[in-house]
């Protein structure tokens, strides 16, 4: 299954130990955010708008406040007004006033489910009943639900203050940003094309679908200091953003990250956290807030639906010459869709001389979008990877060969930024070509095979780590990276490798914001890369200090002490080699305890490529698609714990398949979300997927001590296109809309068959 080469002879890296938090997780002992309870704790609930677009004329809270058991009711008036401009919040630029308005609406609601008020009461049921007693007077406005409706002349305007550079300071608009990327000369490019394919695609808004809803427990102390327990991907983000929204100093908030039940990018922002502190401050009690599933779907951050027009041309020999893309992504009620990333990833795996991409970030009356695993890239790949499939077909070329022929390599220009350094795109396609799946024959009617590729930048950013050596020779590793998928095990393995210990001798701990240095989010496929780097350096720092102690014991200089294969040695008679365990017992007498530490602002991140190979069978009478077989190849640089690397690849593939087949947000013509539950927001079940084969490709990232690239995201990018390509192979229909649900696919098949023929097919002959 895994095809990783362990040529470096690592002892721990590349093995598959049981994860350190495993027993807690399989026994129910692990504490997730909603599992926390404190004496005197109250329960909070949020009142949400039943309209997609409305002005708030007034909010009356007295009846709710008078309900026995209710201890506080808050609205946006209880939060400070913030400036309507972009501000730096760590690495991110955020419009704080919009963030605050998303947490509690200020004057206007912009989507069905937009938070309007919050209560704290002695039981969640009482809090729920209290919400019914809050009276909000809305002036309902027409909803704008699609990018087309938002962009047309005379469109209803969502944010009266929104402007973009192009349209100028006097033009109200729903277009927050227009980005353009250019290379070469696009019309010259298409002149050189023998084959041109142009299609328009629509992809529906989808949700990350984490099984655990958002949660936060806020405890405000009368000395002005607050603690937030929550399930988050970024405890430092929660701290800085909550402080800004609440108008209190950042250092007054401590965030304790609980275990987290999935995030996929959706928990890199804040919703309930500042409310928990606000309510705690008002009541003098700890306050717990959790979202219901309906709230998660209505009011957290799904990813954009989009409209993408993709035109690509190649020579008759299959050489890509030009790509022109127009893309508009739904930002939701406030600006900030991942359309920029969509624009930069769309043809990233290929060497194309002439390129023009126009990308639009458009506000609509849907929830404010949040990151979803390689945000923006899956939408884009659905367009480009299916167009490429058509071009390959026109040239009579195998789709893998077409990609290899045009594949980006070291030195190929990127859409934005410097040319690629050493990357593994071609290797991922070759891994697919060499897979047992690819080599197998697919037989039977209505069956088809499709392949697609994907790209994601990955990120570096900041991480901190500490390695404490204990007197028994074991170590504890303290990091700030929340563990969503098993990363703490990999971190411990890196430290163990450096220290010459077993994986089980290093205990990893994810610390709160007071106990570890700044660490950016667990996201962006960065944990193994950046936090792993910090862990590596922290362990090396510990080794340096241990060498000094050995030197002291042996009366040598530190430079004379060597450390390898877990042993400290030096030249000379009477020098007996020592392991870390042996040396650890002597720390007190040689100078005291040892803590290694390191912080990184990790540079030189290595971009990631993935390829998916999917076989489908289509029921020609119903349009239902069965996934028969799936294989995913991904370049991860170096797989620290292969089981969890495989798991990330399989998970991303499964989400991509759900995105391809059945996941979408259904809004009615009033802009109300019809499927705010997991019955009708249809994610794949165990019965909907086969086993997922994985090919781990390892092309090391130059400059990283372990060659790590990162694994978390890119596997979600190829599957929708791969499924579309497989459907085309199966039944000869090119789908340009996501999801490719049975009604859509059936309609396309019947249209293709046409008239009488369709009737015969439908009759099952």
């Amino acid at each position: 299954m895994a095809a990783s080469a362990n040529g470096q002879g690592y002892r721990v890296i590349g093995t598959r130990p049981v994860r350190h938090d495993g027993v807690d997780k399989v026994t129910g002992r692990a504490k997730y955010g909603a599992d926390y309870s404190f004496p005197g704790m109250l329960y909070g609930k949020v009142l949400r708008s039943p309209y997609a677009h409305a002005n708030i004329k007034s909010i009356k809270i007295d009846k709710a406040a008078a309900l026995p058991g209710v201890k506080a009711v808050v609205t946006a008036g209880d939060l400070p007004a913030l400036a309507d401009k972009m501000e730096q919040a760590g690495e991110m630029a955020i419009n704080m006033s919009q963030l605050s308005a998303n947490i509690l609406a200020r004057g206007k609601v912009l989507y069905d489910g937009h938070a309007v008020a919050a209560v704290a009461a002695t039981s969640p049921h009482i809090a729920d009943e209290a919400l019914r007693l809050i009276e909000v007077d809305y002036e309902v406005l027409p909803p704008v639900m699609s990018v087309e409706d938002a962009m047309k002349p005379g469109a209803v305007i969502l944010l009266p203050g929104l402007r973009n550079k192009e349209e100028g300071p006097d033009q109200q608009t729903n277009v927050a940003t227009h980005l353009q990327f250019k290379r070469g000369d696009i019309s010259e490019g298409f002149k050189g094309a023998d084959h041109v394919v142009e299609r328009e695609f629509k992809t529906a808004m989808v949700h990350q679908g984490y099984i655990e809803p958002h949660n936060a427990v806020g405890i405000y102390n009368s000395d002005g200091h607050a603690t937030i327990y929550c399930s988050t991907q970024g405890s430092f983000v929660v701290r800085s953003l909550s402080a800004a929204v609440l108008g209190i100093p950042e250092g007054n908030i401590k965030v304790v990250p609980a275990e987290i039940g999935g995030g996929f990018g959706g928990k890199t922002t804040i919703y309930l956290e500042p409310l928990s502190v606000l309510l705690s401050r008002k009541t003098g009690h700890p306050v717990k807030l959790t979202m219901t599933r309906a709230e998660v779907l209505r009011a957290s951050g799904p990813t954009s639906g989009s409209t993408i027009r993709c035109k690509m041309g190649c020579t008759k020999d299959g050489k890509l010459v030009a790509a022109q893309i127009w893309m508009a992504y739904e930002a939701g009620g406030f600006p900030g869709s991942p359309v920029g990333a969509g624009a930069m990833t769309i043809v990233a795996p290929y060497n194309i001389p002439h390129l023009l991409v126009d990308a639009y970030d458009v506000v609509v009356n849907r929830p404010k979008t949040a990151a979803y695993r390689a945000p923006g890239a899956s939408n884009a790949a659905m367009a480009s990877e299916t167009v490429i499939d058509e071009l390959a077909d026109k040239c009579g070329l195998d789709p893998c060969d077409f990609r290899i022929m045009n594949g980006a390599k070291e030195g190929t220009p990127q859409t934005a930024g410097p040319p690629y350094r050493r990357i593994g795109f071609i290797e991922t396609v070759e891994a697919i070509k060499n897979s047992p799946h690819y080599k197998s024959k697919l037989e039977g009617p209505n069956r088809g095979r499709g392949v697609a590729s994907g790209f994601w930048f990955n990120v570096g950013l900041q991480s901190s780590a500490m390695v404490n050596i204990h007197t028994d020779g074991t170590a504890s590793l303290v990091i700030g990276s929340v563990d969503i998928g098993g990363t703490r095990a990999a971190q411990a393995m890196i430290a163990a490798e450096v220290l010459g210990l077993d994986a089980n001798d290093v205990r990893p701990f994810v610390a709160d914001t007071d106990s570890i240095g700044h660490t950016d989010v667990t996201g962006g496929s960065r944990t193994a890369f950046a936090t792993g780097w910090a862990t590596y350096e922290a362990a090396q720092d510990a080794v340096r200090q241990l060498k000094e102690r050995a030197a002291r014991l042996w009366e040598k200089k530190p430079e004379e002490v060597a450390f390898s294969n877990g042993q400290f040695t030096a030249q000379g008679d009477g020098v007996k080699p020592m392991t870390v365990k042996e040396l650890a017992g002597r720390l007190a007498r040689t100078g005291g305890p040892i803590s290694g530490r390191a912080t990184v602002n990790a540079r030189g991140v290595g971009p990631a490529f993935a390829a998916a190979l999917i076989d489908v069978e289509v029921d020609p009478q119903t349009g239902k698609v069965e996934i028969l077989r799936a294989t995913v190849a991904q370049d991860v640089g170096k797989a620290i714990h292969p089981s969890y690397v495989e798991g990330q690849m399989q998970g991303g593939t499964a989400q991509g398949i759900g995105w391809a087949l059945n996941e979408e947000y259904f809004y009615d013509d009033k802009g109300i979300l019809r499927n705010s539950g997991l019955l009708d927001y249809r994610m794949p079940t165990c019965l909907d997927l086969p086993l997922i084969e994985t090919c781990i490709v390892e092309v090391p990232t130059p400059g990283h001590p372990l060659g790590i690239r990162g694994v978390g995201e890119v596997s979600i990018v190829p599957p929708p296109a791969a499924v579309a390509n497989a459907i085309a192979d199966a039944v000869g229909v090119r789908m340009t809309e996501l999801p490719m649900s049975p009604p859509r696919l059936l309609k396309a098949m019947l249209n293709k068959r046409g008239g009488v023929e369709a009737q015969a097919a439908a009759a099952g002959r």
Partner: protein, 295 residues
């Protein structure tokens, strides 16, 4: 959720008294897989929740070739599936019970609750219709029998009056050479509400070449579950052939009046009604042919 009172009567009489006394303020609780969701959503706000699962009469599965089947309205789906007589003599109804939601849902959901919820998409209802099931309803004024196809009157509404309780289903003994089948269309492989559901039962004549009787029930293609009378009659007395089945399918499509919603368009549902009617009838026929040897 609003505050509720929980009652757990031990007999049908006790239950009927409670329901009659509180009228709209009481709601029977069986598996809870619909009611508890509705209580949480505030869609229903009764003061009293009357748990009927502890009434023995409503938990029985009693079968004999002589008298047919008396299926308690509160029997959870899992017990239907585990019952050998149910699997052998009413495979269509059994497979419908085994399709509802997940195994977790089937541990709790009941055929009676499924019907009383009044959803046109309930999986077991077309299978009951196909079997010609009758509903024994007990109320303060006495008892009555209601044909299952007459039970639902509109989405979420049934013929039950204040104080009335659905106690059991009475299903005729299966004739020789007869069997039933249920198929539904869902976009995933489990967990979805039926986009279209078709239940069919057929009785073949001794030659196995001709259908003597047939009943077809439809789910999710109208405001209530549908007894496709004309489709059923189109099969009766006919030789088994593609043409015969096709005629029945066309009548089934005509009996359907589906809407566009987030589970499917009307056009799609009509098409699938035809596809599933063909497939379900074919399966019932195949089963009826093979039951000869096993009974």
């Amino acid at each position: 959720m609003h505050a509720i009172n929980y009652e757990s009567p031990k007999t049908v009489d006790e239950a009927v008294k409670l329901l009659a006394a509180h009228g709209e303020q009481a709601r029977p609780l069986c598996g809870g897989t619909d009611l508890i969701i509705q209580l949480r959503a505030g869609v229903r706000r009764p003061e009293y929740v009357v748990d009927i699962k502890n009434i023995r009469e409503m938990r029985r599965i009693e079968f004999s070739m002589q008298h047919g089947l008396r299926l308690g309205a509160a029997v959870p789906c899992v017990e239907i599936y585990e019952n050998g007589d149910m699997r052998k003599y009413y495979p269509g109804l059994t497979e419908a019970a085994h399709l509802i939601g997940s195994l977790q849902i089937q541990s709790r959901a009941s055929v009676g609750g499924n019907l009383c919820n009044g959803s046109p998409a309930a999986d077991t209802t077309p299978a009951l219709i196909a079997l010609g099931a009758k509903c024994r309803v007990v109320g303060p004024g006495g008892e009555r029998l209601v044909a299952v196809e007459d039970f639902c009157t509109a989405p979420g509404r049934t013929v039950l009056q204040a104080g009335e309780l659905l106690v059991e289903f009475q299903i005729p003994s299966p004739a020789r050479n007869s069997s039933d089948a249920y198929l539904r269309f869902i976009p995933r492989n489990e967990m979805d509400i039926a986009v279209v559901g078709v239940g069919a039962s057929v009785t073949l004549d001794l030659s196995d070449e001709r259908i003597s009787e047939a009943r077809i029930g439809l789910a999710a293609v109208g405001p209530t579950p549908i007894f496709a009378r004309e489709a059923s009659q189109a099969l009766a007395g006919k030789r088994i052939s593609d043409e015969t089945v096709e005629r029945a399918a066309q009548f089934a499509i005509a009996a359907a009046s589906p809407i566009d919603d987030m589970r499917g368009t009307a056009e799609f549902r009509r098409h699938i009604t035809g596809v599933l009617t063909r497939r379900t009838v074919a399966k019932a026929i195949e089963r009826a042919r093979s039951t000869q040897t096993s009974r």
